[in-house]
Each structure stands twice: as C-alpha cells, then as structure tokens.
C-alpha cells in the first residue's frame, strides 16, 4: 500500500535554484506550523506518563517523557466516577450514532429520489440550518417532553445534522438511476433497494458520515450540562471540564484541599491521563477520516 502511494506522488522538477530555495523555505514553514498544531497533544501525552513532580517543576517544553510511569492510568481505572463517565460516553456514542445514522440515511435516500414534495422538504431542512428558536425555547421543549435528567435528552433531539444529510444525499444521487430502476423492475421494494443496493455502493461516504457523528457525539458536553442532573449519567467530557477547567476533583473522590505531595501528584496525573482518554478515540479514528476529507467535505460544499 505504502509503496503504491509513494509511486503516485509526482516529482516536481525545479528549473531555477531560486525556486528550490523558496520551496525549501515554504516547506519548513508548513511543517513547523504542523508541529505547532501537534505539540499541545504531545505535551499532554508526555505529561500523562511522566514523573508528576518533574512536570510540575518543568516550565518549558516537554519534548520527551521523563521517568515513565503509568500510575495515572491505573488511578483512572480505579476511579468509579471516571469509569462510569467513560461507559456513559460509550453509551451516548453507540445509541446516538445508530439513531442518527438511521434517520440520516433514510432522509438522504428519500430526498435523493424524485418525489414531488422533495423541493419543499429540502427547503424546510435548509431553513433550519440558518434559523432556530435559540437556546431557551429548545431547553423548554426538551423539558416539556419530560426529558430533563434523562439519558435520551442527549440522543433524541440530535437525529440529523443537515450538513451530513446533504453530503449523503449527494452520494445517493450519484448512484446510476439505471441500477435502481432495474432493481425496482425486478420487484425489489424501496427499503431493499436502499439497503442492499444503494448503501453498499456509497459505503465510503457512509463511513465518513458515521465517523463525523461519532466525533460529534464523543466530544459533546453542553447538552449534558444543560439537561442532566445526576452525576452517574454524565459523559466523560463533562467530568473533564470539572477537573481540567474548574480545577475541581472533589466530585471524583480525589481530595481537593490537601496539598500533600502525593495528593497533588495524583490530581495532576488524573488531569492529564483523563484528557488523553478523552482524546484517544479521536486520535484513533483520525487517520481513517483525514484521508477522506479532501473529497467528502468538498463534494458537500460544492453541491449543496
């Protein structure tokens, strides 16, 4: 695979020396910017496995982990509060993404067919991208539906992101009409055509949209803060907010007041390690998604 990719890269011939120099200078700038983007993640990663005392006293760059220790990750998995929040996050991602995908695929498929009302449906959906009632009416709606402090409040209101739906609809439209027509002539029902014929043909786009939804669901924290009251329903991101931003670890049973060396160390390790855990799924998914960006985002923006 890698060999192939390398062969594909066209080599550029530089006619003038000045062109070569400009190219080198620009390349250095671009890679430096890239490393600047990466550094905060690396810093946190090294801080999570380095000796906490060293990290605390070190005020400069952290280019390499020092006195590697995995104590922090042990602490996380021994901490009920954090483990429950991680499981909660997984629950929200699994059910949220399943729900979103069913709705989005159905909406995108139907809107890609030639239905008389599709023009109106489409306008209706695009309208919601620009106008909304705002935060308070939305909160009251969820509250009237009896979803406050319910796990479903983080799932039910978030079925379709119009942007993702439009990208998927564009992909469905590109399935040749003859394939769909002949399948229908053979007596395949609408659902069957959608699931067994069209979906496999656009599986790359479906994968990307799924990943978008996963990223969104895993990273979401504000609806949880707005709608949930019980701590045992909180997703990981909300707990991270407490320990990283509000600097409050008392709720996960880590002493907040004592300033003894050991407590201080544990608190610091937990901070960095839980941040890494919160980033981990995205860091794992990232290599798969980034390849498809170029096409996915572009197709959507062009044909919307």
């Amino acid at each position: 695979m890698k060999e192939k990719a390398k062969n594909k890269v066209k080599t550029h011939k530089f006619v003038y020396l000045s062109d070569l120099i400009v190219n080198i200078v620009l390349s250095v700038i671009a890679v430096a910017l890239g490393l600047l983007c990466l550094y905060p993640v690396i810093h946190t990663l090294w801080a999570s496995i380095s000796d906490p005392v060293y990290v605390r006293n070190n005020k400069g760059l952290l280019l390499w982990p020092v006195d590697v220790t995995f104590e922090g990750y042990k602490l996380i998995f021994q901490n009920d509060g954090l483990v429950i929040s991680i499981l909660n996050s997984i629950f929200y991602v699994v059910f949220g993404v399943l729900y979103s995908m069913v709705f989005t695929v159905v909406a995108a498929y139907v809107l890609s067919r030639k239905l008389m009302l599709n023009g109106i449906f489409m306008k209706m959906i695009v309208f919601t991208m620009f106008f909304s009632g705002g935060m308070l009416p939305f909160y009251l709606l969820v509250s009237n539906l009896g979803l406050i402090n319910s796990r479903w409040a983080l799932i039910l209101p978030y079925a379709i992101s119009p942007w993702n739906m439009i990208i998927l609809r564009t992909a469905f439209k590109e399935v040749p009409a003859e394939i769909v027509d002949s399948a229908e002539l053979d007596g395949a029902g609408t659902l069957r055509v959608m699931v067994t014929i069209c979906l496999p043909l656009i599986k790359a786009t479906v994968a990307i949209i799924t990943l978008y939804y996963i990223v969104g669901a895993w990273n979401s924290w504000f609806p949880a803060m707005m709608f949930l009251r019980d701590r045992d329903k909180f997703p990981l991101q909300l707990i991270i907010r407490e320990i990283m931003i509000l600097n409050d670890t008392s709720n996960i049973n880590i002493d907040n007041i004592t300033q003894s060396e050991e407590v201080l160390n544990n608190r610091q390790l937990i901070k960095y390690c839980s941040t890494i855990v919160a980033m981990l799924p995205m860091l794992v998914i990232f290599p798969f998604v980034q390849k498809h960006f170029q096409e996915g985002v572009f197709v959507g923006s062009l044909k919307a």
Partner: protein, 306 residues
C-alpha cells in the same frame, strides 16, 4: 377535479411512492418537533414567560425586555466584546486558512503538503472541553505559555486567563490553532482546480512567481473566498458559546462576557426566559442584517450568495 391540477398529481405521486413518503414521515416529524416548534418560543421575548403557565398565563410585556437590555450596564460591555471579538476574528482568524492553503499550494513537494495537512487537521477533532483544558493548563501560573510570556515581558509569570487583556489573544490564537488546517481544505481544493494553462500564459507574459500569485492564483479563488466571507459576516454577533463559556471566569468577565453567555446565564440559570430570548432574538436580527448587507455588496461583484 382537474386531472392536471397540482394536488391531483401530488395524490398520484404519493400513491405511487407511498413507501418513500412513509419512510420520510419520521424525519418530517423530527424536524417539526425539534426545529420548528422551538421557533414558536421566540414569542417569549415579548412575555414575562413562566414555563408552568405557558403563553396564556404569562403576562405580555411588549418590548420591556429589549429596553431593559439596552439600558442595562452590561449592554455596552457585552456588545463591545461580541463585536470586537468578531472584528478581530475576521481580521486575523478568517484569512489564516486562506494563507495556509496558498502556502501549501506553493509547495511543490507533495509529501510535505500531505504531512502538513495531516498535522494541522488534527486539532479540529479534539473536543472543545479538552482544547480549553489544554489552554487552561498552558496559561496557568507555571504553564508553558505563561512562562514564555513572562520571559518576553520580563514580568513574573501569572495566570493569563485571569487577566482580561489577554483574553482576546488567547481566544483568537487558539481558534486559529484549532481550525486553520481544517478550514483550509475548501480553499486548497479550489486552488487545485485552477487551470494550469493560466500560469503558462502568465509565465510567457513574463510574470514572476509573486506576480502569478497576485494575478492568477488569488483571482481564481476569489469567488469561494467571497462566499465564505458572506457566511462569516452572517454570524457577526455569534461568538461560539461553548468556548466562551468554558474560558469565562469572574476575573476575565470584562472581556469574555458575550451575548450567548449572557443569554445562558440570565435565561437558563437565572430563570428569566423572556429576557434571555429577547437578547437572543436581538442578536439573530442583527446577524441577519449583516448577512443581507454583505450579500447586497457581494451581488454587485456577481459573487452573491442569492
């Protein structure tokens, strides 16, 4: 009934494609419940709304909430912060992905372009909570950026987020850091479609590298820049609520309090739904005005959005 009338044809269409229409029904219901029903809540801006009583039981107060907001001591501060943050954002954050795309486009070594792209796309995947957590970590008294700043200014290191003067730079630079790479995709893709013959023609005319950039590259992507600019102008009074809320502290409230955080604090936390909605509605109207005006001028250059 006329066989060719709209409704007659619609009836046939629904009959023939009833499975499709049936499948779409839940989607339709979803949008009506979660996107259209809340629109009705905008009327709360004109009521002293008490959720338990509904509109029928709540008192109609006309424009009271609006005048209360305009007269409040917070009005000046909130409007200044919201508008200035957006003005700075348009000056500094908006051009960043365009410049980055141009930089990538000028690099002829594809491996370098790929590497830079992958690295700069990464931050957009990190949740805002974690991003703000890292900002807090880097800006705390013994944090990395605080100490770099202390070395530059020669003063003792301090928590930068506790100083209102540092709030705008922190907000904007972290914005560039997180979104520059990802936002550059659209511009880079547009650049890749520029007709290469134009460059050959320019070279024959004696245009150097810089001249080609000014006369060929930039004009070619101007339409997409204009579209993005109009969209950006349409959210002139929006400051991403989540980030503002995460970075807000009493000590930097002087600069960090914006319309969205005010709506949340007053409306939801303070249980004053009428007031909160009125402020939100006010900003939505101004936003639309900005969008409309920008589009009006863009249309004169034939790049309008509608």
């Amino acid at each position: 009934m006329n066989k060719n009338s709209y409704f007659a044809r619609l009836k046939i269409d629904i009959k023939r494609k009833k499975v499709e229409y049936l499948l779409f029904l839940p989607v339709l219901i979803y949008f009506i419940i979660f996107c259209y029903v809340p629109l009705y809540g905008i009327f709360m801006a004109f009521f002293d709304y008490v959720p338990a009583l509904g509109f029928a039981g709540s008192e109609y107060v006309g424009f009271q909430w609006f005048s209360l907001f305009f007269d409040s001591i917070f009005f000046g501060r909130i409007m200044y912060n919201t508008i200035m943050l957006n003005v700075y954002s348009i000056i500094f954050v908006f051009p960043a992905p365009i410049l980055f795309a141009l930089l990538l486009y000028e690099i002829k070594t594809k491996a370098v372009v790929k590497t830079a792209q992958i690295l700069t796309y990464l931050p957009v995947f990190i949740s805002l909570v974690v991003v703000c957590g890292i900002i807090v970590d880097f800006c705390k008294v013994d944090g990395l950026i605080s100490n770099i700043m202390a070395t530059i200014t020669g003063e003792a290191a301090k928590d930068l987020l506790d100083d209102a003067n540092y709030y705008f730079p922190i907000y904007l630079i972290s914005d560039i850091w997180q979104n520059m790479g990802f936002s550059s995709i659209v511009f880079y893709a547009a650049l890749c479609r520029v007709d290469q013959d134009l460059y050959d023609a320019a070279k024959i005319d004696g245009a150097g590298r810089f001249r080609q950039l000014i006369s060929v590259t930039i004009p070619s992507i101007l339409p997409i820049i204009t579209v993005m600019f109009i969209i950006r102008m349409g959210s002139m009074l929006n400051v991403g609520f989540e980030k503002a809320y995460l970075l807000k502290r009493p000590l930097n409230a002087e600069r960090s309090e914006v319309i969205a955080t005010f709506v949340y604090d007053r409306g939801l936390k303070g249980n004053n739904y009428g007031y909160g909605t009125a402020v939100g509605l006010f900003s939505a109207v101004i936003n639309f005005a900005f969008l409309w005006v920008t589009n009006f001028f863009a249309k004169k250059t034939e790049n309008g959005l509608w």
